[in-house]
Symmetry: C2
Amino acid sequence: MSPETSQHLQSLREHLEQTLKQSLELPETCPEQLALAMQYSLLAGGKRLRPVLVLLACEACGGSWKQAIPAACAIEMIHTYSLIHDDLPAMDDDDLRRGQPTSHIKFGEATAILAGDGLLTRAFEVLAGGLDDKAVAAACCVDLANAAGPEGMVGGQQADLEAETAGVRDIDHLEAIHRRKTGRLLCASLTMGGRIAGASPEVLERLRIYGESVGLAFQIADDLLDEVGDEQKMGKGVRKDASHGKLTYPALLGLEASRQRAVELIDRAVGALEVLGDQAKYLREIASYVIHRDH
Amino acid sequence: MSPETSQHLQSLREHLEQTLKQSLELPETCPEQLALAMQYSLLAGGKRLRPVLVLLACEACGGSWKQAIPAACAIEMIHTYSLIHDDLPAMDDDDLRRGQPTSHIKFGEATAILAGDGLLTRAFEVLAGGLDDKAVAAACCVDLANAAGPEGMVGGQQADLEAETAGVRDIDHLEAIHRRKTGRLLCASLTMGGRIAGASPEVLERLRIYGESVGLAFQIADDLLDEVGDEQKMGKGVRKDASHGKLTYPALLGLEASRQRAVELIDRAVGALEVLGDQAKYLREIASYVIHRDH
């Protein structure tokens, strides 16, 4: 990644951390344990990939990234709630997340469920209330809810749980799960950012293709890291997926073909942005970074 | 309740049942078990009090109730998700709801959590996408999210769980819980209906007072029914709250003073609507019905 891009991303991330913190400054009517649980998970660091993509998509379409901050916060809240609920005993039953105890280990199961519900709900308050153009705000709420809901992320998690017992049939089945579980939310990052900058429907479709391709490539990279990565850099147990019997890209395609598929997807992502010219340079660099990261 | 009011409510409810059904006609990308679980809980009947109040508030402010249908569906989805999550083993651990197995008993815990998440998310899609005036749509999303989120319903559920171990201190503590757990959502029913009809901020405040008062009166009536009601009519175990050691209005104030408090609250609710004249007649009748119902 070029020093200019690194610096820009760093400055976006610093601004995001500030705003995420402020977004959970709740009045006393919110019980303290609930507020602490929401903050614990939302402010636990992480790559902030989704909110950064919101801001970069807005810039790529000629807007200022500051306009898109409410959408960036909202999508990180949705992503965080999904992690809390996915970690629950009835779901993936994980004790560690980013090297720290998961929400239900730290706060108990009831508060973890409510912290997830609270973040999911608060996301729409921040989104609908924070954007100035109310037609754009309403369109973003539809985007985000559709991507995160039963046709998108929540449906993907259900399909993933069902595949754990029934098995993954083939690569199409695996991709159909990832498209919903992680891909749709990445697409919404891009299209919300574009909408806020006033992008045309044609450009929104290009952004969607970029998001879809990067999303799948990201998943392949995750599977590859799980297979060959270093436990310390990942902050979680490596080969956990394989040992849980979850089917992954390397398991279905082999290591080399998986790497090849990721490269093709990134080419498709970068190609979709041609129409945006130099404005989309950060999005292009992020796309390549996704498959070259080591954690 | 007058025959005219009964008939009007009946026709609103029939329309609501239709629209709620349509609101969950999801494409194949939603896994079947998840769609079934969402439908199972959303279409399980119930009083439909919150969505009916949305429609009546819209009428009371001079609008047509048909305009407010998306907001009515959205609030019933939020209410339904909260019941699914409240019933979970880690929360109230209930096996029966309205005389039927709860979601996690019928579909398993993971699917029940996801069905709740799905309904909560879908609510904002229906709301933001269904209302024609996008400024009103965005304002309704803020209303609903604030009422349902950590400062409102989710916060109330957390406070309720904490009170189960730590105990309820006094009547103010009990009311502070109910205001958040059930009151805020009832207020949002009223203010969303008013907003959709273009009500002034002064009228919205009157509607809020009505909603707050009816909400508390409704809770007292529930506590009284739990204490003295008939198990068959209620469709759930009676004296369940008392046997769980939960503090209730009758336990804190006695039966007679509880009834008196409910009557005062209904007077306050009806008084708040004076400014709306005859247009608010249905809301007035509903208010009295709340404390005279037997199930």
